[in-house]
Symmetry: C2
Subunit: 338 residues, 2 copies
DNA sequence: CTGAAAGCGCTTACAG
DNA sequence: CTGAAAGCGCTTACAG
């Protein structure tokens, strides 16, 4: 097997200098004669030359790589459809622009040891954090100290984090719309079911649910559960019903919770939405397979990923983010359950 | 803002040579005095020095980056739980070893234009391809021409693809077990429902279903459908029932299909598994939320990702793959539907 | 135990 | 229109 061709190999083969080959390969077309262009292109093809990004990166101090750090305790950090769609949108946008996406799931305790933190590998950083507000802020600061331009997804814009844009979905607006839809059924009592782990999006949804229902004079209870376990979700809802009676409406903080609620109600022979209305949040395509027509809100996760990539590359180009924060609308999906 | 510190900055600060700093940073501990070590470490900390991977990569001709190319027509190429789990396993393994994962979804027509193909960015390549056998082989050859060590997931080992290991799950074994389980219900007729897109795994499952049922003398029909659309799946199954009557067992090529079948049967008031047994394939956690107790098989996707990463790094170390092909077992998940 | 020096592959400002 | 040369940040074989 021959050694990998480099600029020198190609230059020798084409009978020109490496500077000329470099220009041709980089699409610099002025100051290159037609004949030279042809010659070089032919050599590139014949030798199967591929520019080495380390060389270019060293010279230009640009690597054309964006890091995506997902801090999550679960090994299957990609399992959540929100994350999946976000990463897909980001990855596709970056690919189109010739940038690579370095995907890095990090356990909460291992952030400092991560090579993304310890070494200089990327031109910019995207962050998706879980955990308490304090823990997230602490990690945001840690990454911020690396002085890369950053896009932080689904978190509140914080002070003292320079060169960063916060990209969010409008959880508040979406939750308000869902609560308002539920209100058309004239409920007197409501149950809000949220996960017991901290998540800024969940806090916003809870707040919007709560305020909207309160303003309408609905007696509202809140119950927390381990959303990673359907049995735990069902138990939490069941316990609440036992204690406080059957609510007129159940607002799930996400679709997983709503789906479990739906099954629990069906088992008990409760009519949805006539007796109890149910709503979810963050609709993704998979619901359709379960034959559910859940009233929910569609997350713009994919578009958020695309936007984050766009903002980061524009920032790399221009030297500064245009805005500190961007929020994408959440779309109400009217279904048959509320 | 100060410029990024490099080896020279640190060396000057610590009053040593860059060679010494390099050794310290890389954990070379022999031939370094305790005093020097301390001094350098302090300077590294104080200046916030992070080694630049482009520099190291250029020098060592190693980049510590593995590429994962997923050739898929859909923009949400990550949506499938198999893919998600595979990528998570791969990513986690590589991270632990200090390697980065460059994730790259590629549309079938754009493979040749991809920067993963046109430029030299990675030390090794993982491939997950969709499309016909011919198309997959063509792309495998294309990537193979890049002369990176490769791990190809979910595809038949092909000739003329050097320096490559094929990592598969045992679709044949899993499908046989599922079919055998269905046979305990003594069916006379069976319906196999598969997607209309080409996928090596689907072909293997179909073949194993077919052979197992045939050997038992079961009259078996096959129907294809657009698995991306639950309505299309339901229509395909409904049409088949119309034409050929209700089968005693429905074998879905995957869980999505089985779940739609389950809902269709429930709507028609058919008892599962008493009247019709149903099986799926590639169980992932999300089924539990739908309150389904589907008889299916669990995919070792996460473990396949880990194994792929492990094989690739071992290959980088040793210079050659130990084996040409690896197959991971699929686990039968006995449920209530068959 | 320590450092000077070569060189990995590339881009770019400059001279011709 | 073309090329010689400097230098990006790093590692390593070698000399001292």
């Amino acid at each position: 097997m021959m050694a990998k061709p480099n600029l020198h190999t190609v230059a020798a083969h084409a009978g020109v200098s490496i500077a000329t080959v470099s220009k041709v390969v980089n699409g610099v077309r002025y100051g290159i004669s037609e004949a030279t262009l042809e010659k070089v292109l032919a050599s590139v093809r014949e030798l199967g030359y591929r520019p080495n990004r380390s060389g270019r990166g060293l010279r230009t101090l640009r690597r054309s790589i964006i890091g995506m750090a997902i801090v999550d305790p679960s090994p299957t950090f990609l399992a959540d459809p929100f994350t999946t769609n976000l990463v897909a949108g980001l990855s596709n946008y970056l690919s189109e622009q010739g940038f690579g996406l370095l995907l890095h799931g990090i356990k909460p305790r291992q952030v400092e040891a991560s090579f993304l933190v310890r070494e200089s590998v990327v031109d910019g950083l995207c962050l998706l954090l879980s955990g308490s507000a304090q823990f997230r802020l602490q990690n945001t600061r840690l990454f911020s100290a690396l002085s890369h331009p950053m896009v932080v997804f689904q978190d509140r814009a914080a002070d003292g984090i320079p060169d960063t844009c916060f990209v969010n979905q409008d959880d508040t607006g979406g939750a308000r719309e869902l609560a308002e839809r539920a209100l058309t059924r004239k409920p007197r009592t409501a149950l809000i079911v949220i996960p017991d782990i901290f998540w800024p999006a969940i806090e916003l949804r809870l707040e919007a649910f709560w305020q909207t229902l309160k303003a309408a004079g609905v007696a509202t209870k809140i119950v927390r559960c381990d959303e990673s376990d359907p049995v735990a979700i069902a138990r939490a809802i069941g316990d609440s019903i036992e204690r406080s009676g059957m609510p007129d409406v159940i607002l799930g903080a996400n679709d997983k919770i709503a789906i479990v609620a739906l099954h629990l109600l069906k088992e008990r022979g409760v009519q949805v939405p006539e007796e109890v209305a149910v709503t979810g949040f963050n609709a993704f395509a998979s619901n359709a397979y379960a034959g559910l027509d859940l009233t929910t809100a569609r997350s713009p996760a994919y578009e958020m990923g695309e936007l984050g990539g766009k903002l980061l590359l524009e920032r790399l180009e221009s030297g500064a983010f245009e805005s500190r924060e961007r929020t994408l609308p959440v779309q109400l999906i009217p279904g048959a359950t509320a």
